[in-house]
């Protein structure tokens, strides 16, 4: 049965936030993520006659992840150097905490870049989008046992690698006035 416009828009409302969070951890550019979400939904809309409503969410995730893969390939072809996470500014956030957030994102990007594509998708879909094992089975088209074991392994690895980074949540990385203090010390010497 074909997908109606109302069903697609309902899916957009439902998946907008989790999908954005998944895509952001691939592309690290807010505008690219927005564009890609639009492309993914329009791509699904173009194939609405042959799609089933029951598989809609899985199809949208799979389609968006494929588009993200193509976008990254395109970037690799046309840009030189690495993309640095474009940390979105939050209202009322101090420059110090923004810098800390940026640094965390860079560290996270390095860790995630060390994962293969499927493992990274598995981490992002389960942790950012909150997909259950059944939903992950629908996206990856793997047996449930495979999804569960791979998820377990990959999360354990993520835990270890993030733990090794040793970021302390309570302590800001760049403390206000630290540079000024150093400068004063340098002037005194």
């Amino acid at each position: 049965m074909a997908i109606s416009e109302a069903e697609l828009l309902a899916a957009f409302r439902r998946l907008q936030k989790p999908l954005y969070n998944v895509l952001y951890r691939w592309l690290w550019q807010a505008q690219d993520c927005e564009d890609l979400m639009q492309d993914a939904f329009l791509k699904v809309w173009d194939q609405r006659q042959v799609l089933q409503v029951q598989n809609l969410d899985a199809l949208i995730y799979a389609s968006a992840l494929n588009l993200a893969k193509n976008r990254l390939r395109w970037r690799a072809l046309w840009r030189f150097g690495e993309i640095s996470p474009e940390t979105p500014t939050e209202e009322g956030e101090s420059p110090g905490s923004q810098a800390q957030r940026h640094q965390r994102e860079q560290a996270l990007k390095r860790v995630l870049d060390g994962f293969d594509r499927d493992s990274r998708n598995l981490v992002l879909l389960s942790e950012c989008a909150g997909l259950s094992t059944d939903e992950l089975v629908a996206v990856f088209d793997w047996p449930a046992g495979t999804v569960a074991s791979r998820k377990h392994r990959v999360l354990a690895r993520l835990r270890v690698e993030l733990g090794a980074l040793g970021f302390d949540e309570s302590k800001p990385i760049i403390e206000a006035g630290s540079h000024a203090g150093e400068r004063q010390k340098g002037a005194g010497a």
């Binding site: 957009f12 907008q16 952001y24 807010a30 979400m37 639009q38 942790e127 950012c128 949540e169």
Partner: protein, 128 residues
């Protein structure tokens, strides 16, 4: 709640995304309607052209000159295809064209008209 929430905090997408998608869908639907209208128009034009060709073929009057030309061509082709005997052309006139080469006779063969008939005093019989 994810154990990695501090590493993967939930980010908020732009509030305008939904409106952007609805607009894109509406634009796509409009384009499809326009395309459907264009296709219908093209189909109508093609149908009209086809009908005109058919009616022209049916309504065309038989042209005696063209028919005679076709008969002459057919006779000539038949004569050249067969063994080398005297050429017989019916339904036409022939004018002897002077040629310098010996043992070569050259005739202008065409549909019988008054003009050719006037020049035809020395030519072989039209039926031969």
């Amino acid at each position: 709640m994810s154990e990695f929430e501090s590493w993967l905090p939930a980010l908020e997408p732009s509030a305008a995304s939904y409106a952007r998608l609805t607009e894109a869908l509406a634009r796509r639907n409009r384009r499809r309607t326009r395309m459907g209208r264009g296709l219908r128009l093209a189909g109508l034009c093609a149908g009209l052209a086809f009908a005109s060709v058919i009616s022209l073929m049916l309504l065309r009057q038989p042209d005696p000159t063209r028919e005679q030309q076709a008969a002459i061509s057919a006779s000539l082709e038949l004569a050249f295809a067969g063994p080398h005997i005297d050429l017989v052309v019916s339904n036409g006139d022939a004018i002897a064209v002077p040629v310098n080469a010996p043992n070569v006779r050259f005739y202008w063969v065409a549909v019988a008209t008054g003009e050719i008939a006037n020049h035809n005093s020395s030519s072989p019989s039209p039926s031969r």
